[in-house]
């Protein structure tokens, strides 16, 4: 199925949750049943739209909505969906619905319901934005929604500090690219697709790559910028935790995939980033306490190793790893944080680790040929992280056990959609070869 050139389906998809948030804010605080119907209804509608977009996706025939936003400044209202985006929009819609139904009606207050839906809109925007200024706008909106969802002043400030650092660096990156486009073409533009065509000296290109990598290090995050994670995990209830680890963990790497890598993919600075990624994995293996911080940083390290892989297969595995990481962390986030002393089965953790294994294998195999030492460190960290025994597991409620099933289903779907993770260039090549 091909879409008309100026189809508004992506606008409808992005703004439906925001409209749902507005509607959910209208009922009084004690009208929890009505609010739940409204919020879950809009999240379900978003999921239906996202599924439609994803099923109808064709390389080269995907929907794109491009309108002038601020013509004199060259800023556009630009949404598009590529292969990775077509899977991510379904995941984001699914995750938001999962977050809304993960707790009972009375437990989900007005503020949480609205913020979850607003965060969904922001994540949709991040996955589909084609303009740098627009990407930053959705990044800021998502950051604010997640910050307010945290609810405790200390945790809000800490989370915002690290994530705003990433946002500020992203702003600098996009502002420099915007200026260079203006100088080199005579017209201002923040269109992300134009960034790879910029002409730069190699050392400047290297600096820009490292600037982009710094964004990921702050936002993803990588070791050692992880001090906000444990506090945030403990401050959040289950819906917020699902959204933070399953959704917001994609924001930093999305910036890397969409903005930085197409423009500076073969930069010399990639080696430094790979060292940091391997160290993050080692940190995941050697950290004295089994908390969220080493797990998230380690998994993100592996994703980055994949994205910086020399082969398109490795890059595709890295892109798939972004989603598998989100799936694995979402599975783990279903645990109740306040029952640490309870014992239960290790099944869920096993499932979560298994979910992340397929991209691990491909990424490490592809990296072995070019950077064996770093790969060895990464493997060591990964093995230590997986093999260290976990003694205490809180039990899962019946609702949470039920929610594991669709997660597993989505994992299978994400594995079957492997061709969608290929970078655009290699997919074009593959199509040409098939023809």
């Amino acid at each position: 199925m091909s879409w008309p050139p100026a189809s508004s389906i992506l606008s409808v998809l992005v703004w439906t949750p925001a409209a749902g948030a507005l509607l959910s804010a209208l009922p009084a605080e004690d009208r929890w049943a009505l609010r739940r119907k409204l919020s879950v209804g809009s999240a379900a509608l978003s999921l239906a739209l996202a599924t439609t977009v994803s099923l109808a996706f064709e390389p080269g025939g995907s929907p794109r909505e491009l309108r002038r936003w601020v013509p004199s400044l060259g800023l556009s209202y630009d949404f598009f969906v590529d292969g990775l985006g077509s899977v991510l929009v379904v995941w984001i819609a699914f995750l938001a619905l999962l977050a809304l139904v993960s707790v009972g009606s009375r437990e989900l207050g007005r503020r949480a319901a609205c913020l979850i839906l607003l965060a969904e809109t922001a994540l949709f925007g991040l996955a589909t934005a084609g303009d740098g200024a627009q990407f930053l706008a959705f990044y800021g909106a998502g950051l604010l929604a997640l910050t307010l969802l945290l609810g405790r002043v200390g945790e809000m400030k800490k989370f915002f500090l690290f994530q705003a650092a990433g946002a500020t660096l992203a702003l600098v990156y996009i502002a420099i690219s915007y200026h260079l486009i203006w100088v080199q073409t005579g017209f201002p533009s923040a269109e992300i697709a134009r960034f790879p065509s910029l002409v730069m000296f190699p050392d400047f290109q290297n600096r820009m790559f490292l600037l982009g990598a710094a964004v990921v290090a702050c936002a993803a995050p990588l070791f050692p910028l992880t001090s906000w994670i444990s506090g945030a995990a403990s401050a959040l209830a289950i819906p917020g935790r699902l959204l933070l680890f399953g959704g917001w963990s994609l924001a930093g790497t999305l910036f890397f995939v969409r903005v930085v890598l197409p423009a500076h993919g073969r930069s010399e600075g990639a080696h430094y980033v790979m060292v940091l990624a391997a160290l993050s994995l080692l940190y995941a293996g050697l950290a004295s306490r089994r908390t969220w911080a080493p797990l998230l940083a380690g998994f993100q390290g592996l994703v980055l190793l994949g994205l910086l892989s020399p082969t398109s297969e490795g890059v595709a595995a890295g892109r798939a790893g972004m989603l598998q990481l989100a799936l694995a962390l979402t599975t783990l986030a279903l645990w109740q944080g306040d029952s640490e002393d309870a014992r239960g089965t290790a099944l869920t953790r096993g499932i979560a680790v298994a979910m992340f294994l397929p991209p691990c294998w491909v990424v490490l195999r592809e990296q072995w040929s070019t950077a064996p030492a770093l790969t060895a460190i990464a493997v060591l960290g990964l093995l230590l992280a997986m093999l260290r025994p976990e003694r205490t597991f809180p039990p899962l409620s019946r609702r949470q056990r039920l929610l594991l099933l669709p997660l597993l289903g989505f994992w299978v779907f994400s594995l079957l959609a492997s061709s969608r993770y290929l970078p655009v260039d290699s997919r074009t090549l593959a199509t040409a070869e098939e023809e």
Partner: protein, 402 residues
């Protein structure tokens, strides 16, 4: 002064007269806001009719009249300070609309004397005032290209800072009126600086003065926002940081005029929203007791706009501003400004986090008021969601003084 601007500049004088003559009655107070709105509408008509053709003056006049109308709609009890504000706004429009430097400077100094209520700490006002007059004399008499403009720029900026600090810190009630006065004076001072930067300061020491002043104001404002424990100190710090950003945009040369005007107008909106939301609140810690959701929303919108956090009003101006400054090879200064802006965002989020802390007592019950909510919606739509028209207006205004 452009004669067509006599109407919008004269109507606030009429409102001031109404306030002074019928201050005791409700009728007088009710008349003020419509008169101010009429003045604002006259600016809109003049812009579209092309009469007078000085769009720079019209843009600045519309900014101060917008602030004045908002203050008149929200501060019904502040009759005396509202009257002073109306006189000040007329002077501000006069300062912005005349191309004669001496008239502009005179209007600004008179504005400061009118708005200032106390008589203590005269030395603080005396020093920058004298510096301004010496700078003006050097420019007019000796055609000074360095010392005169430097003294004028530094003196006017310090004059604004001293006055704003005193006006904003005098009391915790009537914050909107006081903030409107500070903003109106900032507009008047900025009009002079914009004209000077486009005509009289080519390179060298004078440019260095703008450099130092802008980064210094940004740094002081940022540190103030990070460490403030009182609401009035926080507001002064925010205003100072925004003034620093307006000055910083001037480093962008001819390309920096448009962004500078965008930042200036967005500053007015954000600072007035913060003032409206924090009115009658004493300490920053007390923000967590705000009971009204609309008030907390207006506060968040205002504070996050004040640090140009995307996607809030004012963030769109950052791209052309950064490009203009980079175009003049001030990359290091831009990096310093970005770092300071990041810290300002942290300082601003400190207040937003407190306001949205679910553990707050929520004992302060009154809301933000209809005017603040309407301004918040209008600002969000016009400056953040659909800013194309606003950007065009600012660019057209900046082109008028080149």
């Amino acid at each position: 002064m452009r004669f067509v601007l006599l109407v919008p500049a004269g109507l606030p004088l009429l409102a001031a007269w109404v306030l002074s003559s019928r201050a005791a009655s409700g009728w007088g107070r009710r008349m003020v806001a419509p008169v101010d709105a009429l003045a604002l509408l006259s600016i809109v008509w003049l812009w579209h009719a092309g009469v007078g053709s000085d769009r720079f003056s019209l843009f600045l006049a519309a900014s101060v009249l917008g602030a004045l109308t908002f203050a008149a709609l929200t501060s019904e009890r502040e009759v005396e300070s509202l009257g002073r504000l109306h006189l000040g706004v007329s002077l501000s429009i006069a300062a912005a609309s005349t191309s004669e430097l001496s008239w502009s400077v005179a209007a600004i100094l008179l504005f400061g004397i009118l708005v200032r209520q106390g008589r203590e700490r005269l030395l603080y006002f005396f020093v920058p005032g004298i510096a301004v007059l010496i700078g003006l004399a050097l420019i007019l008499a000796a055609d000074s290209k360095v010392v005169g403009p430097v003294l004028l720029v530094a003196g006017l900026s310090t004059w604004w800072l001293v006055l704003s600090r005193e006006v904003l810190r005098s009391d915790t009630s009537g914050l909107v009126t006081r903030m409107a006065a500070s903003f109106s004076l900032l507009v008047a001072v900025s009009s002079v600086l914009l004209r000077i930067s486009s005509a009289r300061i080519p390179e060298g020491a004078a440019l260095g003065a703008i450099h130092a002043l802008s980064l210094g104001a940004l740094a002081l404002g940022t540190l103030g926002a990070l460490g403030a424990t009182r609401v009035t100190t926080f507001l002064t710090a925010l205003a100072l940081a925004r003034a620093g950003l307006v000055l910083f945009a001037l480093l962008g040369g001819a390309q920096g005029g448009g962004p500078s005007l965008m930042v200036l107008a967005a500053s007015g909106v954000s600072l007035l929203l913060v003032a409206a939301a924090l009115d009658e609140t004493d300490a920053i810690d007390g923000v967590s007791n705000l009971g009204s959701g609309s008030r907390r929303l207006v506060l968040a919108l205002g504070v996050l706009s004040a640090c140009s956090f995307p996607p809030f009003p004012g963030s769109v101006a950052l791209f052309p501003l950064a490009s203009a400054v980079l175009g003049q090879s001030h990359a290091i200064s831009l990096l310093v400004a970005v770092a300071l802006h990041f810290l300002l965002a942290i300082g601003s989020m400190r207040v937003v986090a407190r306001a949205w802390d679910p553990g707050g007592a929520r004992t302060v019950g009154n809301g933000a008021g209809l005017a603040a909510i309407v301004l918040a919606i209008v600002a969000t739509v016009a400056l953040a969601i659909a800013p194309a028209g606003f950007v065009e207006l600012a660019r057209a205004a900046a082109l008028a003084i080149l």
